[in-house]
């Protein structure tokens, strides 16, 4: 088994955060891969929901979706519904986890996927919110997954597409975001949590082989630090094999766990 890539480290760490029996609204890419991996390994009754209206899909290994709205994302779903319905289940409070990516994020977990630079004279136009703003406004526990790079982890985002703690818990409350909260940022270098008093990001655990200094060097703001920084367990061979099989559809030597369905 070749060593885990940074994206694989991040994806596997993310998958471990999802408890069995929950409902996760996952964005395309690493969050979706983490969710599918969790479902195949330790969380067989996890329900994955995807933006395009897909509830409870099971992915065909080697044919992971390129967008969350296409047929690949609907494969073996329990329910295929409308986009509004899918989001409104979230607004009603039915989703335990919201799992998104981030173009740029700041110390309060605010995410920018709209404009780099001044929005009136932007340097770069990004793809936009899609469902991310809705996910962070509604899913009970919001988790963000992104590569750990200084250009992504900035003091203050240029544009708040998807609010985290804004400028602290009070400001989030005042803005009307009273029913849920951001809980974690998973990267290829670390697992970050939120300090509940300040709403600021805090280093909770390191990816295997990563130092605290490396994390700070790659973070463009002053990152709080947990009293007891943990170390994330390295990916198991099973996790890696399963993830690669999902992505590439090519079997490895490691025996794969078969998916357990919760239904009769």
């Amino acid at each position: 088994m070749t060593e885990a890539t940074p994206v694989e480290l991040m994806t596997i760490a993310g998958s471990r955060l999802l408890r069995d029996g929950g409902v996760v609204f996952a964005g395309v890419g690493a969050p979706l891969e983490a969710s599918v991996l969790a479902k195949r390994l330790h969380a067989p009754s996890l329900t994955i929901v995807l933006e395009g209206g897909s509830i409870g899909p099971r992915m065909l290994p080697g044919r992971l979706p390129v967008s969350t709205n296409e047929m690949r994302a609907a494969h073996d779903a329990y329910m295929l519904t409308s986009i509004n319905d899918l989001f409104l289940y979230g607004q009603r409070g039915h989703y335990d986890y919201g799992f998104i990516g981030a173009g740029q994020l700041d110390q309060y977990g605010n995410v920018n996927t709209s404009y780099i630079g001044d929005p009136d004279q932007p340097k770069v136009r990004l793809p936009g919110s899609g469902g991310a703003n809705d996910i962070v406004s509604s899913c009970r526990e919001v988790m963000i997954m992104t590569r750990h790079e200084p250009r992504r982890f900035v003091e203050r985002v240029d544009f708040i597409t998807s609010p985290g703690y804004l400028s602290g818990p009070d400001s989030r409350q005042k803005a009307g975001l009273v029913r849920n909260r951001p809980v974690a940022v998973v990267t290829d270098m670390a697992l970050l949590g939120f300090d509940e008093e300040t709403g600021r990001l805090r280093l909770d655990a390191l990816q295997p082989g990563v130092t605290e200094e490396q994390v700070h060097a790659n973070t463009g703001f002053e990152l709080l630090v947990s009293d007891a920084i943990g170390e994330l367990a390295p990916p198991t061979d099973q996790e890696l094999a399963e993830l690669r099989w999902l992505r590439d559809g090519i079997t490895s030597d490691i025996p794969r766990t078969r998916e357990v369905t919760s239904a009769p």
């Binding site: 709205n69 607004q91 929005p119 406004s137 708040i160 998807s162």
Partner: protein, 301 residues
């Protein structure tokens, strides 16, 4: 009162229902069940000054901008998919003049259409709260008259025209969708004029036999056009997968040549062939049939 009779016509005839300056909403989502044939027909007919709206936009965004068919886009996300990123020419247009792009979240965009489809001038949502999107849209804070909860009111979107591609419809416009419905039903209900393209036009008897699968009633529809592979190179659930190699080719042209690449693509797929059917001929039957086979692997019959 719309006609209650036979509404079948050609793509070219249907294009006459769209006028310069109209607000046009497209059904489907990103590269799924896109009303691609009808969109190309609007480009062929050289409509101008449209406001093009779609919940997630694919590279039709830059086809409409670069051909000057659209002067404004309204969406929540513009991209082609993970593998190809954000359409380059779209980016250039918006970076030059951000006012041509109105940005919403996916649900708040959807609630605008839902308001329109309900005949209501607004709807409340918990999205957009605290975000900078709120300041750059006409959305406003509102308080619940019963609970005083702080919410966001979004204004109804009532497009002049909705373009919807479905798997089956009858001649009077009763339409059925397989797979996710995306926002097509809201689009069709909100818009003043509705153009339905369908993989197959079926006898009304077939619609009646499966009436609980009908999601768009004939009385909201103005035109029905039979267009097999009407979403190609995008996908149509259960019928054909998207043509990712086609996307590769397109992206290559545009990354290399920018606006000129878009023009070349339009020449190749719209103006050169002269009709959607002729465009499909340039693609070739075996390539289309392979897309069908790939779809069958994903969606059990």
């Amino acid at each position: 009162m719309k006609s209650a009779g036979d509404k079948r016509m050609s793509l070219a005839e249907a294009a006459h229902l769209v006028h310069d300056g109209d607000t046009v909403v497209g059904g489907g989502c990103c590269y799924s069940r896109t009303p691609w044939a009808m969109m190309l027909e609007l480009l062929r007919a050289e409509r101008r000054g449209l406001t093009l709206c779609r919940n997630l936009m694919c590279y039709e965004s830059e086809l409409f901008l670069a051909s000057e068919a659209a002067s404004k886009l309204v969406s929540s996300w513009v991209g082609i998919g993970l593998r190809w990123g954000i359409p380059k020419v779209f980016r250039e247009y918006v970076e030059r003049d951000p006012s041509i792009y109105e940005e919403w979240s996916h649900l708040s965009f959807g609630m605008r259409l839902m308001a329109g489809s309900m005949g209501m001038p607004f709807l409340p949502t918990a999205s957009l709260l605290g975000s900078d999107l709120l300041d750059r849209t006409p959305a406003q804070h509102i308080r619940c008259p019963f609970t005083d909860q702080l919410l966001v009111a979004v204004p109804a979107l009532v497009p002049d025209v909705a373009l919807i591609h479905v798997q089956t419809a009858d001649a009077i416009g009763n339409a059925q969708i397989e797979g996710p419905a995306y926002m097509d039903v809201e689009c069709a209900r909100a818009a003043n004029t509705v153009i339905v393209t369908a993989e197959e036009i079926v006898p009304s008897e077939a619609i009646v036999r499966t009436a609980d699968r009908t999601v768009i009633p004939g009385f909201v529809v103005d035109a029905v056009v039979e267009v097999p592979f009407g979403s190609y190179p995008h996908e149509c659930h259960g019928r054909y997968e998207a043509d990712f190699e086609h996307f590769d080719g397109y992206t290559e042209m545009v990354v290399r040549d920018g606006v000129a690449g878009v023009q070349a693509y339009l020449e190749e797929t719209v103006h050169g062939p002269g009709s959607f059917a002729a465009f499909l001929d340039t693609v070739g039957a075996s390539r289309l049939l392979e897309r069908r086979r790939l779809a069958r692997e994903l969606v059990a019959a």
